[in-house]
Point group: C2
Chain length 488, copies 2
Amino acid sequence: MNYDAVTELALSRGFYFPSCEIYADAQAGFWEYGPLGVALKNRYVELWRRELVRRDGMLEIDGSQIMSRSVFVASGHLESFNDPVVRCTKCSSVHRADRLVGEVLNTIVPERMADGELGALILKHGIRCPKCGGELGSVSRFNMMFKVSVGADGSDAYLRPETCQSIFVDFARLFKIMRCKLPVAIAQVGKSFRNEIAPRQSLMRLREFYQAEIEVFCNPRRLDAIDRFDEVRDVMLRVQDGDTLHEVSAEQAIRKGIVPNRLVAYYLALLSEFYSKTGIDMSRSRFRRLAEDEKAFYATVAYDFEVHTSLGWVELVACNYRSDHDLKGHMLLSKENMEVMDVEDGNSKVLPHVFELSMGIERSIYCILEHSLQEDRENDRLVLRLRPYLAPVQVGILPIVKKDDVEAKALEVFRMLRKEFDVFYDDSGSIGRRYRRLDEIGTPYAITIDRQTLEDGTVTIRERDSMNQVRVRIESLRDELAGRLRPP
Amino acid sequence: MNYDAVTELALSRGFYFPSCEIYADAQAGFWEYGPLGVALKNRYVELWRRELVRRDGMLEIDGSQIMSRSVFVASGHLESFNDPVVRCTKCSSVHRADRLVGEVLNTIVPERMADGELGALILKHGIRCPKCGGELGSVSRFNMMFKVSVGADGSDAYLRPETCQSIFVDFARLFKIMRCKLPVAIAQVGKSFRNEIAPRQSLMRLREFYQAEIEVFCNPRRLDAIDRFDEVRDVMLRVQDGDTLHEVSAEQAIRKGIVPNRLVAYYLALLSEFYSKTGIDMSRSRFRRLAEDEKAFYATVAYDFEVHTSLGWVELVACNYRSDHDLKGHMLLSKENMEVMDVEDGNSKVLPHVFELSMGIERSIYCILEHSLQEDRENDRLVLRLRPYLAPVQVGILPIVKKDDVEAKALEVFRMLRKEFDVFYDDSGSIGRRYRRLDEIGTPYAITIDRQTLEDGTVTIRERDSMNQVRVRIESLRDELAGRLRPP
């Protein structure tokens, strides 16, 4: 299924929709999760916690979104986190210079192309305003951070453009109070904000979005000394390097030099195992090794975890080896010592390096939806084949006939389950129509209550994908459902 | 235990700590959740979902934090969400006028006192700058919203000062696509932002904070027609009205006119049942009915759910009957029709009224910590008696001796449990010290692995509060723990 079908489903069934849509001054790039979206997102984050945070023993924090100016002086965002823009001299509309050039010339413009070069291309090819055809001004820089003014005196502060800065700023305290040893990973889920010039394609490029970021602090002299690597040695990785797609185990990836060290390979493998449990079709995924001119300004080695969709390849996770860029920056400006002891390295002092897994949650949610949505022609239904443990509505409760005693029994079952599970009670329309409505939003199990329920205390559980039905006793329903809804 | 003891625990063990603390330009009123705080907050929110959202069949959304200017024109925040301030004519420091007057005169200044009146009191009593003793200027208004500028053209937008505005703005779409019937509650957990003049007492008054808000949309003609009331008829409520504390059942509260209708009584009862499961000592709580001059500008009837702590009474939830203030405002400005059909009321068109439960999450977390932290002198320990289902670290795993085979077995148990539970492995220090460390952060269960484990495959579970120990088989550990960690 494609982008339009997913968007149609999202809007009509309440996965997500535009923010402030009733107002003319609604801004592009802001979307809301509706009831089904909230539940899907929460379960996705819960799986991330299970398969990455808890599995690896990471620390998780939740920091402020508004951060002081110094943070972004030190991180380099104030100076470098900007996009090249051109303003039309006629209609005053503003455009991303690199994207405009790329679209008109039908080419990929490297992220780091200098303003002068972009300006020269605009001149050379006579590129004009896509809105009014007017002449474009010169290329300048637009900082993508949102500024706010704090307190009565109006101190400058910023909405964080990435969650990880809280992790770096808090690192020294966390390492000490949590009695950490290198390597240690610190994770965070939360909102980040980027004042994009041209937000687009609903969840694909937002101005306000959720990230799940993991910063692995490590001793750069000991990038191969990670015992936990044994757990993932045989996990298969798909790594795209230039024109070649390597399908190799984590161990082979290192032996063949496709991944530089065990630490990086270990975390790529964890990430791969996580995504394989989200229902994303892994045969349409890859870790793409970035070329020099594609990497973010702080990265020395970088992979993008990408998934193929109807929109082409979509980047879900940026995996960057940020070296000591961040900790050094904060240490220099704040004078706070960020060095720590590495007991495994002769108790030497180390300024840790950082390997980062920076995940976009909305894009991940989008890909899960697109890969899960299927038209089942044989059974004349649209079915969202979400993994049961990710489904927003887990159980439908359907009295099969409109009879007082059957409905009373159905409500009893509903009340028994409603606190523990996300349950939807539906008594309107034919049973076939009610199944279709549940199939379309990915509900894995429907419980029907019928005449026989009143006689022998059993109900049927109908399974979404196979459409098979089994009868179980009401007393064992809770355990039956809990077992089926547990991640593997 | 008091505020200082809780703060000391929070800082030293990683529940929460100030944001950007390594920088001189760190702003007051911004705090971060450390690893233990994140887990406690998440479990708290999960309990809120269970006992309020799922129990009542509410819809939950997650909206943008940056919202368009029109939203706050319609809501009245642009005009009315401001604090009275005075600036010192000598040192230029800015103070909340009402609080300053209140503190100097040792009295409670009503929230709605006019600027002129405040100015007159300052003059009459010769109140001067608390910082430098200088003369104060006249009283003016300071809007508490944070403004941001969106897009290349810099459209005004604001960080929401309360989460509920997303719910109102989205109401018409949600009611339609989710096939709602009145009354229906829509809930949201998320960040809100207020540019407080004087943030204080760590989590008590923040500039960036989590709210869990519930907006109940209802037909004002049918406030007593709510079937679900039967479920809570006997729930006891503590309602403070003027000088009188009423301890009555929900049903009596209505009969005696202490609460105006069944809808309000039902939701106060749900809230009360929820908090009784958080471990807050309900005998130190009350719903305080607000006097006319204390209520927010949009409320017609209002109760504050308050809890008594070492800081005095703390407001955790504002329960406001907002009437049609919000929907009407948005309908007038946006021209979007917010009226809906009420099938139970002869299919008449209704502009719903709203009863709101607006919960501060940080304050709730603080009260839970203060009410749970105890000095157990008899056993010479500090113990955080959190309900097991709220504890951040659920299980400690402690090899009782430093022996290779015992440690290997302990690690095996650790690996078996780590994905499902929040588990902490600790092999350093005496077993007594390790128990103390777990007690202090509220870990309800400690599993010890010893020589006998190697022989018969059993471990001991030590219970935090009673300090009792039971032996169980490793195979049944997972079920044993899951059962003990399930909310009642």
